[in-house]
């Protein structure tokens, strides 16, 4: 996670998991380091003191001897590598070295003060020595005793011991980190499960999220979300009722107007009055069409409608669609034709598929010139089934191409009595069921081609 990109400070990453892991691992490492350090220091002290005590005992055993014992001779390996005690016996005045278990160490003189001290005989690593000088004996002729031990050996020994004590911590550390990682991951997995539940919601009929496997800390969030969902459901229900009521309230007066026009027909005198009457009738028909389109648009938007998917034979569906629109084709004397070369099936609610093709064919029939030609072709293109709806109307100017799917958009100067909603309705229904509508002006002459790409029959359709 890059702090610069996420816009957060490095010590508080956006991911709770990263944040938890980061801080827990840091604390663990610091705790382990401190424990190791204190162990090291404590055991170092312990070993140091124990070795000092041994030096004192050795010194005492020589100082108390009468006649004085002569020290065992040592070689360099024993004195430096194995850390054997080097014993020096000095004359009572401390000037002359009478005996030494390792003569090369004569360079260290008798320390004037009794007790512990440190000595350095040179620069090389083995030249540091720990020195214990015994107190002078009660008799004046008694020799002075001094014991030395190699400091490097002592340090190695302390180190080994301390490391041994710290080993369990070092071994436990990776195990502790692994357990931490598992716990944090499990917690974030349950969060991801909630997220998956939310993501798989159908926006038109949301269902409550289950609290069964939600951690306590997240439960209030899920509760709040469920509460929001129930309010959304209520809003949806209100909207649905509104659409139903609006349908009723709009259609009733339209039906009355239609009947009154019918009643008037017989009483209209020939001539100019008939022409005006026909204009009135066309206007009413257009208003009725617009109302039906508006209602089907709000039905599309209204959520929660039970839409059952079933395998739909597209060829049969297109036949029905063309049959139903023959009234419009007859009225505009448009020659409509159908050509079916493939017979694809699509899983979708039949009514919604109908609204895709009805609107496209309706559009073609309206934009084709009076006495024009509309073709509906079901064939395979680029390896999949497509439905082409072609007219020989004016087509769509390039400047309007990007907007024709917008609600209420009508190509400027368009002659047809459309509502400006047909393509919007068709596209919404198409996208909901995995179909894609492509519009382009015909290259083989004037007119528009609307191509509907059907989803492949085997692929599972994406949920709406």
């Amino acid at each position: 996670m890059s702090p610069a990109l996420s816009g957060t400070r490095w010590w508080r990453p956006r991911s709770l998991r990263t944040q938890l892991l980061f801080w827990l691992v840091t604390l663990h490492l610091v705790a382990a380091a401190l424990t190791a350090w204190f162990t090291f220091v404590a055991y170092g002290d312990l070993v140091h003191n124990a070795l000092d005590e041994q030096m004192r005992l050795v010194a005492d055993s020589y100082a108390g001897g009468d006649p004085p014992r002569s020290p065992h001779p040592l070689d360099a390996e024993a004195a430096v590598t194995r850390g054997a005690f080097v014993v020096q016996l000095w004359s009572a005045d401390g000037r002359t070295l009478r005996a030494s278990s390792w003569p090369p160490l004569a360079a260290v003189p008798l320390h004037p003060e009794p007790g512990f001290s440190d000595a350095n005989t040179g620069v090389h690593p083995h030249s540091h020595w720990r020195v214990f000088t015994a107190e002078a004996g009660p008799r004046a002729d008694q020799p002075r005793v001094q014991v030395l031990q190699n400091e490097d050996y002592r340090r190695r020994r302390t180190m080994r011991r301390a490391l041994l004590e710290g080993l369990p911590i070092a071994l436990l550390l990776p195990l502790a980190l692994l357990i931490l990682w598992i716990i944090v991951s499990a917690a974030s997995r349950s969060l991801r499960a909630v997220a998956r539940d939310v993501a798989s919601q159908d926006e038109r009929s949301p269902t409550e999220l289950s609290l069964a496997r939600v951690p306590d800390e997240i439960a209030p969030l899920v509760h709040a979300f469920n509460h929001l969902l129930s309010r959304v459901r209520n809003a949806f229900a209100t909207q649905r009722r509104f659409v139903q009521d609006a349908a009723h309230e709009l259609r009733t007066p339209m039906a009355a107007i239609g009947l009154q026009i019918e009643n008037l027909r017989a009483h209209v005198p020939a001539g100019e009055a008939t022409e005006r009457f026909n204009q009135l009738e066309a206007g009413v028909t257009r208003a009725q069409h617009l109302i039906e389109q508006l209602l089907s648009l709000s039905r599309q938007d209204a959520p929660g409608r039970a839409t059952s998917r079933e395998p739909v034979d597209i060829e049969a569906l297109l036949r029905e669609s063309v049959s139903q629109l023959m009234v419009l084709a007859d009225a505009r004397r448009v020659d409509i034709g159908f050509e079916g070369r493939v017979a694809p099936m699509v899983m979708a609610p039949p009514a919604e598929l109908r609204s895709v093709f009805d609107n496209l064919i309706d559009n073609a029939l309206r934009y084709a010139p009076e006495g024009g030609v509309v073709d509906v072709r079901l064939h395979a293109a680029e390896g999949h089934a497509v439905v082409d709806v072609l007219d020989n109307g004016p087509g769509i100017p390039g400047s309007s191409m990007g907007r024709v799917f917008d609600r209420f958009f009508r190509v400027p100067g368009a002659p047809a009595g459309g509502s400006g909603l047909g393509l919007a309705i068709a596209r919404t229904a198409a996208e909901r069921h995995g179909l894609r509508i492509e519009l382009r002006n015909r290259e083989d002459g004037s007119g528009l081609m609307a191509r509907v790409h059907l989803p492949p029959p085997t692929a599972p359709l994406t949920p709406p």
């Binding site: 139903q244 339209m254 039906a255 009355a256 009947l259 019918e262 036949r319 409509i336």
Partner: protein
């Protein structure tokens, strides 16, 4: 021919009554469910036009009670709601047809004729639209007031096309309707038959829809 019009909307009720009378029906208009109930019990109607959302008693209730009483008067439900459930429910309760507002008055008349015909059975054996009809008993075609006799195959052809006026029937569908099992059908048999019918009834009587088949304009 008496029709009972049950409609609570003043505007629709008045215009519809007027239009029905203009079309030769005598119409009784009631505005609520209870009045409809008693009118149905007393009167002898050829047909009932029933709105669903009615004051005092819902249209579906009127229909249910009428059917319970054994009243078999043809009922055509008119409603402005577009719920599929309403439609199925009213058909289940015994409605003969269902029409959504707003409707074309001519379509309403056609549907009224159809439900009445269905109830009367063979007594009214004329099927078809306003321009072209087929008499099922005499096997004659009625066109512009004139009657003309038909051969068996011509009759079968028009019967198929006029059953649902406006419906498009494919060559295969027509062949299945006209020719029996195992009968040899030449590839242009249907074309020849339709050509002959057009000569009798006019070129526009049976229309071809490219790629789909033939239809009779209702």
């Amino acid at each position: 021919m008496r029709v009972l019009l049950v409609e609570d909307d003043e505007m629709i009720g008045r215009s519809l009554k007027q239009a029905l009378e203009g079309a030769g029906w005598s119409a009784d208009w009631v505005r609520d469910g209870e009045l409809a109930q008693s009118a149905l019990a007393d009167g002898d109607y050829t047909c009932v036009l029933l709105d669903l959302g009615l004051p005092r008693q819902d249209g579906t209730e009127v229909l249910r009670r009428a059917r319970e009483r054994g009243d078999a008067t043809p009922v055509l439900v008119l409603t402005a709601r577009d719920g599929l459930d309403d439609r199925i429910h009213s058909l289940d309760l015994g409605a003969d047809d269902y029409l959504r507002k707003p409707f074309e008055f001519r379509e309403l008349l056609a549907r009224m004729r159809a439900v009445v015909r269905r109830r009367d059975g063979a007594a009214h054996s004329l099927i078809g639209g306003s321009t072209l009809q087929l008499d099922l008993t005499t096997r004659e075609v009625v066109s512009g007031g004139a009657r003309e006799a038909l051969t068996a195959r011509e009759f079968a052809l028009l019967h198929a096309l006029l059953e649902r006026p406006g419906a498009i029937l494919s060559r295969e569908q027509l062949e299945n309707r006209i020719y029996g099992w195992g009968e040899e059908v030449t590839s242009n048999a249907i074309d020849v038959l339709i050509h002959g019918m057009r000569r009798k009834l006019g070129a526009e009587s049976i229309r071809n829809v490219r790629g789909l088949g033939w239809r009779v304009v209702a």
